[in-house]
Structure formats: structure tokens, C-alpha cells
């Protein structure tokens, strides 16, 4: 998979205050979640990628193009949905989206058609002739999404897209983002402080803390890897002998409490093998859980200890901390 965003010692300073500190890394997911507490530098990173703030040092590339040297080419391939209200007062939504399409380089004769399509796509088809300032908050969010996708960008940057939305509108927004992601025609960079949104939409996350990368991991790989982590609750029999037998299969294990056993399943070992060993040792397996590192856990771990990148691996921490 090609790199969507490459960060190369990217630093941004406002006055004497460093906001982004030598960010390094490559993001290649279909939908990349940008997470971090308030003031972590998420929005500054987005603004820097869009060329709103010049990097103090280092650079970044979007689809291999330098954000400073090829600023216009980069922006031609990007669609941006800002966090706060953004529209032109008194202009009908279809004209607003059409204007944005034309500014992105779509010829006037196609721009109107694309504007209608984008507005129908986000669900504002019936309201497209109304001025944007007469819209509800949810409709304004959808209008912002429409202007971000009208020119068919290769990367769509969404800054807090579900802010202030009621549950049905939020679900609709999430569904649209997932639909765009699954369509495969555009990559998504989603900045949010709502972990649930990121978990539902993204397959890769970048967590920022105080302007540095606290974690960068592939959620899909995390989910796959977590399938190897198993927690057993047992009753009766010789639990210690059972644990040693499991260890004999080549699995790392740890006993916790009087009834629990945590282990890392090896590739060649099947669940059936565990049941067979339990039978041999007279141990009852009352419960078997696959451990699932939720995004919240990943986020909290990243907040505890920054510098948790894919090279170290969130799994590594799970092993140390969990077993």
C-alpha cells in the first residue's frame, strides 16, 4: 500500500512555542485516525499539511509530493472539512459547493453537476437550494463534507466531523465516511477526540501528545494480533500442571488469581489443543476470552508513555503489561 502521508522531522513553532516536534513516520492506511488530547497538535498538523502554517523545520509529503514545494498540486488532491462552521452567508448550498468545485479546478460546466451529485450523496439533495446559513448544525456538517468531496480528492481530511451531531446524524456521517473508505477511491485522515468514531472508521491511528507522536499503529494488525491473546477461567484439577503443559506447547503464559490463566497462542496451536490438555489434567475450562485491546486502551497507554510507535508495537506493551 502506498504511503499517504510521510512526515520527515516535521516541526512547527508559533513564536517561541513548539507545537509539533520533529514528527517522523509514514501513514498508509485507508482511513487514518488522528487522535490526541486537546492541544496535542492535531489541528496544527492538518493545517501544516494543507500549507496554512509553514513548517519550521523538516517537511511532509502527501502521496509523495512535498507540502511546501508542491503546495498547489498537493491541495488539488486534497479535500478538507474544517472543524468549525465554514460557509458563505447568503449563498445557496448548491452554489456554494459549485464554487468550491470550480476553485478546485473543475470546469464550470461540470461543477454544477458535481455539486448536485455531492449534495445528494451526503443527503442534502432536497435542501440544496436553501442558503447554508439557514441549515441546522448537522446539515452544515454535511454541507462541509459535500464541499470536501465535490472535486473527488484522493485524500479527504476530516477535522472532528461528528462534532455536535445528534446520534442519527452522527451515524449517517460515520456511515458516509466508511462508505468512502470502502469505495477505495479516496483515503481519509480523520481527526477526532471521539475514540468511538475513530474505532468505527479507521484502520490506522496516529496519536499525538504534546506535539510528539505518542503512538502510530495499524488497528487492523492490532485486532489480528489480539486474537492470539487468550484468557482462561478454570475450575478444579491441577491448574499448575495444565499451565506447564500449555507452556510445553511453546506458549507464553501467566497465572493470575486462583482461577485465571493468560497465554499467547502460538501459530500452530489450536484451541482444541487447550481443551485436550485440560481434559488430561482434569481442569474445567469455564470461560475462554480473546483479549481485545480496545482503542481506548491503546490511547490510554499512549498517553501514559509517549514514543510508542509501531516499531515497538502496542502488542509488546500488552505482553509486558498484561502477562
Amino acid at each position: 500500500m502506498t504511503n499517504v502521508i510521510e512526515l520527515e522531522q516535521l516541526s512547527v513553532t508559533f513564536g517561541k512555542r513548539p507545537i509539533l516536534k520533529a514528527l517522523d513516520g509514514a501513514l498508509k492506511g485507508r482511513a487514518i485516525g488522528l487522535l490526541g488530547p486537546n492541544g496535542a497538535g492535531k489541528t496544527t498538523l492538518i493545517h501544516t499539511l494543507l500549507g496554512f502554517h509553514p513548517p519550521t523545520s523538516g517537511t511532509a509529503r502527501i502521496f509523495g509530493r512535498d507540502i511546501a514545494a508542491d503546495a498547489k498540486e498537493v491541495r488539488a488532491t486534497v479535500g478538507y472539512m474544517p472543524e468549525q462552521d465554514a460557509f458563505i452567508a447568503g449563498m445557496s448550498c448548491v452554489n456554494f459547493v459549485r464554487l468550491m468545485a470550480e476553485l478546485s479546478g473543475i470546469p464550470a460546466r461540470h461543477a454544477l453537476e458535481r455539486a448536485h451529485e455531492a449534495l445528494f450523496y451526503v443527503g442534502l439533495g432536497e435542501a440544496r437550494y436553501r442558503p447554508v446559513d439557514s441549515y441546522s448544525l448537522g446539515m452544515k456538517q454535511l454541507a462541509k463534507l459535500a464541499q470536501a468531496i465535490v472535486h473527488g480528492p484522493k485524500l479527504i481530511i476530516l477535522d472532528e466531523p461528528t462534532n455536535g451531531l445528534d446520534p442519527p446524524t452522527r451515524s449517517r456521517m460515520i456511515a458516509l465516511i466508511r462508505q468512502i473508505r470502502d469505495g477505495g477511491r479516496a483515503r481519509i485522515l480523520l481527526s477526532s477526540h471521539l475514540l468511538r468514531d475513530v474505532e468505527e472508521c479507521c484502520d490506522e491511528i496516529l496519536i499525538l501528545k504534546d506535539g510528539s507522536i505518542a503512538a502510530n499503529c495499524n488497528l487492523e494488525e492490532e485486532r489480528r494480533a489480539n486474537r492470539k491473546f487468550i484468557e482462561l477461567e478454570t475450575r478444579g484439577g491441577d491448574r499448575l500442571a495444565f499451565a506447564e503443559a500449555v507452556g510445553g506447547l511453546g506458549c507464553e503464559y501467566a497465572l493470575s488469581g486462583e482461577r485465571r490463566l493468560k497465554l499467547i497462542l502460538q501459530e500452530q496451536i489450536e484451541i482444541g489443543d487447550l481443551y485436550r490438555l485440560a481434559l488430561e489434567k482434569g481442569v474445567q475450562i469455564r470461560r475462554l476470552n480473546y483479549k481485545r485491546d480496545s482503542l481506548e486502551e491503546i490511547f490510554l497507554k499512549a498517553m501514559e508513555n509517549e514514543g510508542l510507535t509501531e516499531s515497538v508495537g502496542v502488542n509488546g506493551r500488552a505482553v509486558n503489561g498484561g502477562l
Binding site: F14, G15, K16, R17, H47, L50, G51, F52, H53, A71, K72, E73, R75, A76, V78, Y80, P82, Q84, D85, A86, F87, I88, A89, G90, M91, N95, L99, M100, E102, L103, S104, G105, I106, P107, A108, H110, R114, H116, E117, F120, Y121, G125, D133, Q147, I149, H151, G152, P153, K154, Q179, I180, G183, R185, A186
Partner: protein
């Protein structure tokens, strides 16, 4: 894609050129301007004086028409530098009113609803955005000042003959230069005010104030100190001086005033500020506007 096929599709056609993209902003803005009937009516009114001036030029060269109207040629305005200077002053006044009507919402409309990031996240630089907005006023003002001015000049030249044209070719430069200075100043001032003030009415007031308040102060200074140096703070007076200079009609002696000096009543000669000082005033005003625009026209304001 038909509208009922609700799918996300990339645009696969050819993109439009950078020049065509630059014209998008003025095209949309001018469409908004002419949606107002008041604006359209006023814009038409701006062509009344050019029409009157063309009739004067025509009458000046048509003996039959003059005879029918029983007008003596000597009673008509001469078609010379002062004729065109008057044309600049009258159309310049109309241009100021048009700027006050059109200019204030140009940038403030985008600023007040955070639309600037939406412009600037596209392949459009800040400079192109400002130039696009300048083009709105530039096109409107040129069409009611520069274009009619040059057309009347060409009309006069066609009626007066080749000798008049060769003798007065410089005047075309004065017309273009005079209007270019005025249009440039008005455009920059309007955009700077629009970038600073979000409310349209307040912005219109501020724009008018920029001309009338310093003008009033200049009048007070001139009256109190029996001078013309106060004109330096008046943009309108400075522009008039620059125009007069371009048409070769600038005179530093601006009349006399009777005053009591040391118990004796004497006639004091009022001296206009030098021409370069008027150019400097206009240049400084333009530079301040450019600086303000550079500070205000940003996707996001950075608090350091």
C-alpha cells in the same frame, strides 16, 4: 453519474487552467453584485456623465447641430486636458460611491463565516485570492471610468483629426494612469476595510470615513494655519493633485487669502504640497492596505 446513484466518484475529466480558476472569484462576486436591482440601477447611472461628455464632444465638432441648437462654439467647454480632468473627477466620485456599495462584503463575508480555509485549502494562494477579489472591483470600476474615458478620448480624436491625436497622445496616458491610481487605491482600501471589519454597514461607514474624516481635518488645518499642507492627509485632495499633475494642470500656488499679520492686512499665497508628496500619500495608503491584507487574509490566525 446520475443524481440517483449516490456513490462517491472521483472527477476524471480535464481540470481547468489556472487562469480560468483565477476568474472564478470575480465571476461569482459580480453575479452577486448584479443580483441587487439597486446596484444595477446605480451602475447604469454611472454612465450618464460619460454620455453627456460624448454629446458635448459630438456637438463641439458638429456645426449643423450647434446651429440648430443656437449654441456658440465658444460657449462650449473646450475639449482639452481640463475637460478630461473634470471627467476624471466626476467619474472618480461615482467610483467611490460604487466602491462603498460593493467593496465591504468582499472579504468580510468569507471571514465572518470562516470560509477562508475552504478557499485556501484548494489550489489557490492567498495572493491569488486577494487578486481575485481585487479583480471584482477592478473590472467594475474600470468599466465605468477607464473604458468610457478612453472611448471619449478616441471619439474626440476621430472627430478632431490626426493632428489633435498626435498633439494630445499623452492625454490617453494621463487618463489611463489617473484612473489606474484611483481604481488601485479604492480597491486596496475597500479590501483592507473589508478584511478588518466584518459588519457591512460599519465597513461602508469606515470606507467613507477614510475619505471624509481626513478631508474634514485637512480643511480645519488649512483654515487654522492658512495653508494647503493639510491636503496631504486627504486622500481625495492628494488624488486630485496627482491627476492635475498627470494632465499638466498642477500649480503649487492655490490662490491667496487675506490675513492679518503683525497688525497689517496682507494677501498670503497658499502653496499646495509638492506633487511628490501627494504621490507619497497615496503610495503609503496603498502600502498600509497591502500590509493589512497580508496580516488578515489567512486561513487561520495564529496566536503566538
Amino acid at each position: 453519474m446520475a443524481v440517483y446513484e449516490h456513490l462517491y466518484n472521483a472527477y476524471e475529466g480535464a481540470p481547468q487552467s489556472a487562469a480560468a480558476r483565477f476568474l472564478v472569484i470575480p465571476r461569482y462576486a459580480l453575479r452577486e453584485v448584479f443580483r441587487s436591482k439597486l446596484m444595477t440601477t446605480f451602475f447604469i447611472l454611472c454612465f450618464v456623465y460619460p454620455l453627456v461628455a460624448s454629446i458635448l464632444v459630438y456637438l463641439h465638432h458638429n456645426a449643423n447641430a450647434l446651429a440648430m441648437l443656437r449654441i456658440n462654439v465658444r460657449e462650449l467647454l473646450p475639449i482639452d486636458a481640463s475637460f478630461f480632468l473634470t471627467f476624471l473627477e466626476i467619474q472618480g466620485g461615482f467610483a467611490l460611491v460604487l466602491t462603498v456599495l460593493v467593496g465591504p462584503p468582499l472579504i468580510s463575508r468569507d471571514l465572518s463565516n470562516n470560509a477562508l480555509p475552504l478557499y485556501l485549502c484548494r489550489p489557490l494562494s492567498r495572493t491569488e485570492y486577494v487578486l481575485g477579489k481585487m479583480a471584482v472591483l477592478g473590472l467594475l470600476l474600470s468599466s465605468m471610468t477607464l473604458v468610457p474615458g478612453l472611448l471619449i478620448y478616441i471619439f474626440q480624436a476621430s472627430l478632431a483629426g490626426f493632428d489633435w491625436l498626435t498633439a494630445n497622445l499623452w492625454m490617453s496616458g494621463a487618463i489611463v494612469g489617473g484612473f489606474a491610481v484611483w481604481i488601485g487605491l479604492l480597491t486596496l482600501l475597500a479590501l483592507a476595510v473589508s478584511a478588518m471589519v466584518k459588519w457591512r454597514v460599519v465597513a461602508s461607514g469606515a470606507l467613507l470615513g477614510l475619505f471624509f474624516v481626513p478631508g474634514a481635518f485637512a480643511g480645519i488645518i488649512n483654515s487654522l494655519f492658512l495653508t494647503k499642507a493639510g491636503n496631504l492627509i486627504s486622500l481625495w485632495s492628494s488624488t486630485i493633485s496627482v491627476w492635475s499633475g498627470l494632465f499638466g494642470l498642477f500649480e503649487r500656488e492655490a490662490g491667496t487669502v487675506r490675513a492679518r499679520v503683525g497688525g497689517q492686512i496682507v494677501d498670503l499665497v497658499l502653496i499646495e504640497p509638492p506633487l511628490w508628496a501627494s504621490w507619497l500619500t497615496i503610495g503609503l495608503a496603498g502600502a498600509v492596505c497591502v500590509w493589512l491584507l497580508a496580516r488578515r487574509v489567512r486561513a487561520y490566525e495564529v496566536i503566538k
